[in-house]
């Protein structure tokens, strides 16, 4: 059954990309969630959509532009969006969360304008919204692979700084950490990972792959490193079983992956409750 699953190129591509984003999204997700910025992923994914819509619009006008993977322009938009979020957070020191709805709505606004300018698109856009297995080609694999390498190296190199910054910004400053630089670097990484994850889970569901595995992991893990590893384990489980299920039952992979992540979350919460009750009854 698995051999059957892997005999097609497009499925192999999707499986590779899936494995990579199943690792990347929860990895960054842990840092995002503990800083209570879970919605940033949503804001950035919507601005990515604007970039993709722009790219599709341009390629409709200029044939040569079709050669370029729309994800690249999406990525550029997303990185710009991340910089803007940081600027807005500085501007509204006491209402930092405002940056998220501002960028999110601008993202949707731009997307809708681009889409209407192009008089609508074909199924392409639908794939970007909800994810697709068929749409993944080998250029996507290479792109996601380079993002994986860059982001993983950056996380390993700046783990201390990112961890400290997430826990306590004042202390980070006292420790002499260049917090603005690290924060900028981190936002760029988030932007890249969102663009990378989009092919499979789709723009509207990217943030769930970033937050759901972390939400489950944080309930049971001891310590920060363990939270990361368990989140990755959950992320990979959801992506792999999700792709498999989506292929056999002809479902949208994004939705399937998200529902499986939610299922893992429910199992974890229930197990935790049950175990707690069990311990209590034993003590009584």
């Amino acid at each position: 059954m698995i051999a059957d699953f892997l005999q097609y190129d497009f499925i192999r591509n999707a499986a590779f990309v899936g494995l990579m984003i199943g690792f990347l999204a929860p990895l960054l997700g842990v840092f995002i969630v503990v800083r209570r910025q879970a919605l940033i992923a949503d804001a950035l994914s919507h601005i990515t959509l604007a970039g993709i819509a722009a790219s599709l619009l341009i390629s409709k006008q200029i044939g040569a532009f079709k050669m370029l993977n729309p994800v690249y322009l999406g990525m550029a938009f997303s990185v710009t969006g991340s910089v803007l979020i940081e600027r807005l957070r500085k501007e509204y020191k006491h209402y930092q969360e405002l940056a998220i709805p501002i960028i999110l709505s601008v993202g949707i606004g731009l997307s809708v304008v681009f889409i209407s300018l192009a008089n609508g698109f074909n199924t392409d856009l639908f794939n970007y919204l909800f994810g697709s297995i068929i749409a993944v080609d080998s250029s996507d694999v290479w792109m996601v692979l380079s993002i994986l390498v860059v982001v993983t190296i950056a996380i390993v190199l700046f783990y201390k700084e990112l961890f400290l910054l997430s826990f306590d910004e004042d202390q980070a400053q006292v420790a002499g950490i260049r917090s603005r630089f690290i924060q900028f670097l981190f936002m760029v990484m988030v932007a890249l990972v969102i663009a990378a994850s989009m092919r499979i889970v789709g723009i509207l569901l990217v943030s769930s792959l970033i937050t759901l595995p972390v939400a489950a992991s944080i309930r049971i893990a001891k310590g920060f490193k363990q939270t990361i590893w368990i989140a990755i384990l959950f992320g990979e489980t959801a992506v792999i079983t999700g792709l498999f299920t989506a292929y056999y039952f002809d479902l949208a992979p994004g939705g399937t992956i998200v529902l499986l992540s939610a299922l893992i979350l429910i199992i974890v919460i229930t197990w935790k409750k049950y175990r707690y009750a069990f311990q209590r009854s034993k003590e009584a």
């Binding site: 201390k160 306590d168 004042d170």
Partner: protein, 252 residues
């Protein structure tokens, strides 16, 4: 001057137009234990932030270990336990070990990793504050008093010569407060660490500290504990700006 760990000269600071600190002069001698006393909103935390370089200093000067704060880089010589330490995100998934390690990050520096010797020092700091058996527990699972000890350990791990604590006992249950002060006393007397304790309640620390500074926008009193105890109610009242008998914490 040489034996001063901190020397603050003529420091004035305002948030926008509102003056918070006026012409503060304060020296902290090496090995002393200073209580920085003042009602809420008296500028205590602002002074600490200036001292740590967290706020920009425009008027006056601050020297740490003889070096101007603007040029000071040896932050690992200073341990800081912020007020925020007791209102941190208690759901944060970090073990006591991980929290304490953070105190070493500045010293280890960018692009370098924790070595075995660093890990040993983290364990030592955890032992000093008596949290050995909680090393691998999530910080959120500890009691308020234990959490505060973990933050002290984090401040201690870089082997600081000066430890600054900003209202460290807020939110700590009464029974652990005594133990906590006992720990501070040990750090000061046995480990020779200079301590600055920011508090609005002198009561429990009178026997502990060697010096007292009373701050309310201006420095109203600075001297050793003995002099402080001899200060009469009238002077105390002028410091708080209204008649004082018992401590009143209702200031804005």
């Amino acid at each position: 001057m040489e034996s001063s760990v901190v020397s603050i000269n003529n420091v004035t600071f305002s948030y926008q137009e509102r003056p918070v600190l006026e012409k503060i002069n304060l020296d902290v001698p090496e090995g002393s234990f200073l209580a920085l006393l003042g009602p809420n909103g008296s500028g205590k935390s602002t002074l600490i932030k200036l001292l740590l370089g967290l706020l920009p200093l425009h008027q006056g000067s601050i020297h740490l270990f003889g070096e101007n704060v603007k040029k000071f880089r040896a932050w690992h010589r200073i341990g800081y336990v912020s007020q925020k330490a007791n209102s941190f995100n208690s759901g944060f998934p970090a073990t006591v070990f991980e929290v304490v390690s953070m105190g070493l990050f500045g010293k280890i520096g960018m692009f370098r990793f924790m070595k075995k010797s660093h890990k040993q020092r983290v364990m030592q700091a955890i032992q000093t504050v008596g949290l050995d058996e909680y090393t691998n527990q999530n910080i959120g699972e500890l009691s308020g008093g234990q959490q505060q000890r973990a933050f002290i350990a984090r401040a201690l791990v870089s082997d600081p010569k000066l430890l600054i604590l900003d209202e460290p006992t807020v939110g700590v249950d009464a029974s652990s407060v005594d133990d906590f002060y006992e720990l501070l006393k040990r750090l000061n007397r046995e480990h020779g660490i200079t301590l600055v304790l920011v508090t609005h309640d002198m009561g429990p620390v009178t026997d502990l500290v060697t010096h007292v500074a009373c701050l309310n926008k201006r420095l109203h009193f600075h001297g050793d504990t003995h002099e402080y105890e001899n200060m009469d109610n009238r002077e105390l009242s002028s410091f708080y700006g209204h008649p004082v008998h018992a401590m009143d914490h209702q200031h804005d």
